[in-house]
Symmetry: D3
Subunit: 247 residues, 6 copies
């Protein structure tokens, strides 16, 4: 049985509060079980050097955990003076996957900064961050659209993320920290509203896995993401209707 008695293919309770920070163009507090992440989207009217005069915009992301988000306090990366490899991997993942559903031309020469700050961590912080950041991003771009700053809404499809894994011999959806620590296979899936893959990252550090296991993992994950996207739509209310219209 799972630590919280869920079914193997059941998500943890998800809550998306928006807006959450008054000064940000888009902001969300997402809870996935005990994992809680503040996601904000900030608009900056310039692009990085490699995009200047390209007519294209950019989405970039930063990720951090409060020191006491975890069971044992972790040292701040600001105090250590450098970002760890895990943080870099995660912020690159968040930016890359969000960009996959954006029409950067339609966004125009501006940058959206996504900030994901984990205030409580219980497994699945990167996937919760992506799921929440997508909602904050919709809200920020809706402001641009409503203000007439952009003419076409640049988000082509919904995007959400979850984890799947093999714990013992069972394929499970949306692992909490306790399950994640003992999983023999661990996989993050990021998919679109149309059920396509944006990113698959599966690893069997302690136990290489077969094609059959892979198929099972993908199936369970796919269903979980469909649910998450429905939750995003509910949370977004009217703003949900912007997504994909400009395609």
């Amino acid at each position: 049985m799972r630590p919280d008695t869920r079914e193997n293919n059941q998500l943890r309770p998800v809550e998306i509060i928006r807006p959450y920070i008054k000064s940000a163009e888009g902001s969300v507090l997402i809870s996935v079980g005990d994992t809680r992440v503040i996601c904000t989207a900030s608009i900056e009217e310039k692009v990085p050097p490699f995009l200047r005069n390209s007519g294209k915009g950019w989405i970039t992301a930063e990720y951090s955990m409060l020191p006491r988000a975890t069971q044992q306090r972790t040292i701040r990366e600001a105090s250590k003076g450098k970002l760890g490899g895990r943080t870099m991997e995660i912020q690159r993942l968040i930016g890359r996957t969000l960009r996959s559903v954006i029409d950067l031309k339609a966004l125009g020469e501006r940058t959206i900064w996504i900030d994901c700050d984990v205030i409580q961590a219980d497994g699945g912080t990167r996937t919760a961050a992506i799921t929440g950041a997508f909602v904050a991003l919709v809200d920020a771009l809706a402001k641009l659209k409503q203000a007439g700053t952009i003419s076409k809404f640049p988000i082509k499809d919904f995007l959400a993320a979850t984890s799947v894994g093999v714990v013992g011999n069972e394929v499970r959806l949306d692992l909490c920290y306790e399950e994640d620590s003992s999983a023999v296979v661990d996989m993050n899936l990021i998919m679109t509203g149309q059920g396509k893959f944006v990113e698959i990252q599966g690893t069997g550090e302690s136990n290489p896995f077969s094609s059959e296991q892979l198929m099972e993992l993908l199936e369970v994950g796919k269903a979980g993401i469909a649910e998450l996207i429905q939750l995003q739509k509910n949370a977004l209310g009217e703003h949900a209707s912007y997504v994909g219209v400009g395609v």
Copy 2:
């Protein structure tokens, strides 16, 4: 008139939610008007090198702001690779003032890490951090006391902080960001439950101030701190009775 129509000697609405983070020994979300800070207290069973074998404990603090706590997004110190001077000043202040009401011998050879993370900033973040961190510290030490790990409760007195300033010609309590930006004199006061000063930091960068103005500022601040300490007591409930008993 003040931006939010308060009286000059009136605090903003204060809310203290405790506990706020499930994994921390003590944790608080404090709101002072639109300023919101997550404060946690974490117990570590060792002390910095200069205190080893001294029989004494230590309190240390770290402070940070989420990038989008502010009106304009600020760059993460973790990304810059170093802490700014303002952050260092504030975290030194938080640690130093909390230590002033602690009996470090009674604490024993352990360190309490205070983390103050500003999730929304509207002026007075360092004073809100101190006021909130004190509550988280009481809770963390109450756990030690209840577990019998320490025999004497090591907090000698209450401690709270607020700001006062001169805006135009008026002395005002608990400045919000808009007032803070236009203040000619700006002062932070940190005081104890017995009405003594732990720290006074007053600066008249754009306008040196007289002894008379100083007296007025202190008087208004003193009353504000008395109110804050009453709010801490209400928030702490039973735990409030631990404070000062061991003196």
Copy 3:
């Protein structure tokens, strides 16, 4: 047609020279087409703090590119004073995947440092690094076995890596730089001698992909890895027979 007129499911020419650096316990110069990587394995008779007194060993990896491995000179990370996110991701990947085929208990309390230095880059540097590093690792551990320092050879299975991708509408194996730059889907596969997955990292930044495409990619990659493992066996000569014997 592919830039070098290969078939879509054909690897580039692979060469593995061993030993290559006289002072290292294991060392290889691997060429995969124009991509060339020096891989060394160094034995250190201690483990990181989290493994002390655990009876277990560790494999860790570092990855770097010479500044002029690339078409345009890239700035040295040593001169910038920090590792980039891409480097960190790659070195974490190399270490993690090598560990998946190692019996860390049988290795004993020692660390194997894997260094992968790209001297010429033409796509697929991380997968060439893994494929070459595996060979260097076998050689280093063979020395320990021959010296009687370890009684059981700790490598459980072969391990190799390659990339697959979708370029235009075609699924292709072992992308060179020119193909990699224009691929709409890009996937790295790391697999064992028994044909199991150790890691799958697939991303469709510019074009989310379907389950059908995923299946095709995996099939082509699987065959490529089987070939690479045969090449490792040829290169290793007698040392090949150590692998998997102790399982």
Copy 4:
């Protein structure tokens, strides 16, 4: 009795040598007892980005101690690769307080860099730095005035600093290191020629203090600063007459 037999309200012997460094626009070696600080003022004909095209100038300060200024050698911040919190606090304080007596418009779009390097430390290094830096600043600006580069002398008033503290039960002026280490209350005062406060920083880390003690400390400090300003005037000779004329 005090370690050097002074009265409680007596300053240590003060010496101000000017100029001290031949290449600097303004330079001073100030001795306050055994504390010795080299202060220079350097003119740069540009301003930081936030002041460009504002018509205003800027004063910024840096502070450092030679490793062997102290009883025990301290590690160089250049070797550690970062500035400590204490250094940052002090250099922010020096810059902020000097700016309080400057008409930045009259200074015009240029920056004055103040460098304070402690060559021997015996308590009160930051207050000696401010008192000495003020003199160097007058000299540097006098050169600009004499050259006709500026038409109005931009210094509005004199500025000096000293420390006061409670040692045992006694309020004392200008603490040396030995006294500073055992003080229960420690306060830095920075005041103008007209007797106004620019900055008050008082802390009772080991002993919160009362309003009565505060009044006593301010009174003693005020008298000390008046003396220091007289010593600045003596040291400045003719240049003293520039100060405040343009107000």
Copy 5:
């Protein structure tokens, strides 16, 4: 007898392979005994700020060792986050000495980046780097000349480097690592094709040396460098004829 039975005034076997890296404008793998260094020359069409609009070009160099170039693995400077003093000294030396034979005006406003990466170290890595880098530099500039980008070939003379030392009581040429470690006097000589000194760096850390020893060292070194320059000419083939023509 020397570890490899050479005569005291005999160089180790030297091999210069060119080109070695396909993407670089000039590239060489130089072997001097077991010391092997990859040297590349990269052309950048801009100069550092201090040379802008001067009509002059610049040569700059970077030096690094692979971690396992040495008998014991050394930690990467990129991982430590800073360059060590030895590395800085060497890269300053390489750049400075190459510039001494360049007509920077004839080079025009462009920078040549020299990268020297030691893949195997057995003493004399800095002198091998200079000797090899000179060849790569000739090749890179020959491309500019052949393309008509520059009208005058900017290299005025040949340049090579070697080490000499006193081991026991004997003066020896081109020390290998084993000799270098036990030398009482150690000297690096960098000289031109015309037999002039560009740089002499001699140190007798464990044993100050006399004028007579100095004379002997210089004589042996001079002969060694003449041989190295002949080897450069042989390796350069036709390109050798460019050097010094424009003088």
Copy 6:
């Protein structure tokens, strides 16, 4: 004629004030013309890891310039967060050359930290630093000898340093900054009381030099150093007699 009308083989006026910093075991203010350096020697009762339990001591040096020691203000290395290549080269040189006259066994397992801080720079700062640091080192070790902490005085010979160069066609001793900037050959000589070479560093960046020029430079430098050593003896008074006695 030289800028200060000296003869070509004449030193600038030298002054050595000792002690200069009350807290240091040895301290000197050395002036060589307008170049002024504070040199201190600090005793630490432990050695770096590579010497533990070896019975040997160590001498290490650090070098820095005040920002306004130079004609134009230079940026602090502490603010930049890293040491420059020039600083590293110089501090390695100071440490290495001082060690050459020390019997590290006789010193015992302790480290002497040499700090050289340039407060005014007019050429020859590194050679003035070495000449001054030697005097501070004698004084620090004399204290150890007088206290009976060491039984044998560990300094084997005197040590001083100066620069020589070719300006125009003339060989000159002890170059000031103006001469140094226009010299075609620049050489630093560090020699012992017995007239032996500890280090020669000669460079002809803009003009390779001949053997004849080298001989002339050495001769002039040798005489200058003999004078400097006499000045050290005068400055050291009684302490001079310790040097070389234990040999």
